[in-house]
Amino acid sequence: MNPLELTLGIMTAVGGFVDISELVFAAQAGSSFGYALIWVFAFATIGIIVLGEMSGRVAAIAKQPVFNLMRHRLGLKLGLVTLLASLISNLITCAAEIGGLAIILHLLTGATYMLMAAASVVVLIATIWVLRFKWIERTYGLLGLFMVIFAIALVKAHPPWADVAAGLVPHIPSGLSSKELISFAYFTVAIISAVMFPYEAYFYSSGAIEEGWGPKDLVINRLTCIVGFALGSLLAISILANSAHLFGPANIDPELPGSAAMQVALPLGGLGLILALLGMLFAVAGAAVETCLANAYSAAQFFGWAWGRQKKPWQAPRFTIAWVAIMLLALGIILTGIDPMKLVEYAVLFSVLVLPLTYLPLLLLSQDRHFMRTHRNGLLGNVLGWFYFVVIVIAAIAAVPLFILTAGGQA
């Protein structure tokens, strides 16, 4: 195990953890419910650690990424339904990330939102075209580490640490009205969805294939998931806690990503604000790349096309056309003028509906003696895996009614 590779892998996972949905929902959750939803972030993070580790292990041992094996397990009909649902969900998420990117660039430069959306897509396409997989992942992941400024701001803001710690204990705050309880439930489902987005499993397992993982990489896989995702989650929790400490008492609703950056400006001033915006810029840009590539990976793996960004774009032409088309389609959605924050809500809703179909084949495969041999799930992996599967099924069933009842978290 190369310590440098491990460190870079973990840092990339930390910097790449937060995306536009986590930014928005963490900030809103903090301002609306104080520290009471911190445990949901911690709970969902354990879920993505368990299922992310499985997707990396399956890729390393079975030598196939999630979508290849999904079709083999679910069959053509259910596989096609899953493919279509995940394509739609990832496309909406990609559009939301591009919208978020445009807002942040607008705040940084003052240029118009639409122009910044188009410019972002040009830069994103250029970087995916020019760089190989490892450098795409590392460039955005490592630059996303600017997000650490949110954790520094939290320390500087001196929140009531006992309350922050109490937020880690699963509970529902007492004294909520029924309307507030429904809103709390909506935020719970939305945070689970945002932390466990299906694109993360597609991207992570495809990345493992791109980098040629084998049994010797299982330790890196486990450490990257556990340490990288846990530290990444701390950044999201910092955003929530900052929001609870600074925005909640002032009745500020941080609906836009720019509001989250203000959390840093208050304790750390102008430099902090710029670093926060840069962190958000690279984290969200990384997520846009991941969602776009996740869709191209899914389609290519489902239909058996040549794929991968270790290859040159013309060596996997249908895959290349797919990711370029997805990026342009996502830009097209933004250029219609739709509110990007609405897209974030739709992305979270669609994603939670796709989650069970994404993770069921993964669970079945990760305990398959034929494919996984001695590396199949142990007792703990199976118990945790099936527990989180039940959780995401419940979240998927509850998502649509909660979305309607709360008008997308607005009520």
Partner: protein, 116 residues
Amino acid sequence: MKPTGRIELIGGLLDLPLLDKEGVYCGVVDDIELDGASNAPTVKSLLVGPGAYRGRLPGWAMRIVGGLAGTRITRVPWEAIAAIDSSVRLLDTANAYGLHRSENRARSFVPKRGAM
């Protein structure tokens, strides 16, 4: 698993990805063609391509697939298989079995410059 061994056709082979001898993905086992001349049918070829979805999808879905992706079918003879595990590995390149036609067509639209 050797291709000469007994295999569970539906569970073991259908919908597995195909890899050519250079390790390039070149399709998925969309259906299987049996040689029914004897009482004990044997696999004659793997069917690859959207046309092979017929019989596996409802008619309305097949019409959509046909409209979007065409109805071509490529037959890969059983003898062309080197190994079956989490994928089906072929003895020769995808071109040798006509599995790279769509990929080659798409290649003409992709500029061949600028990438590391």
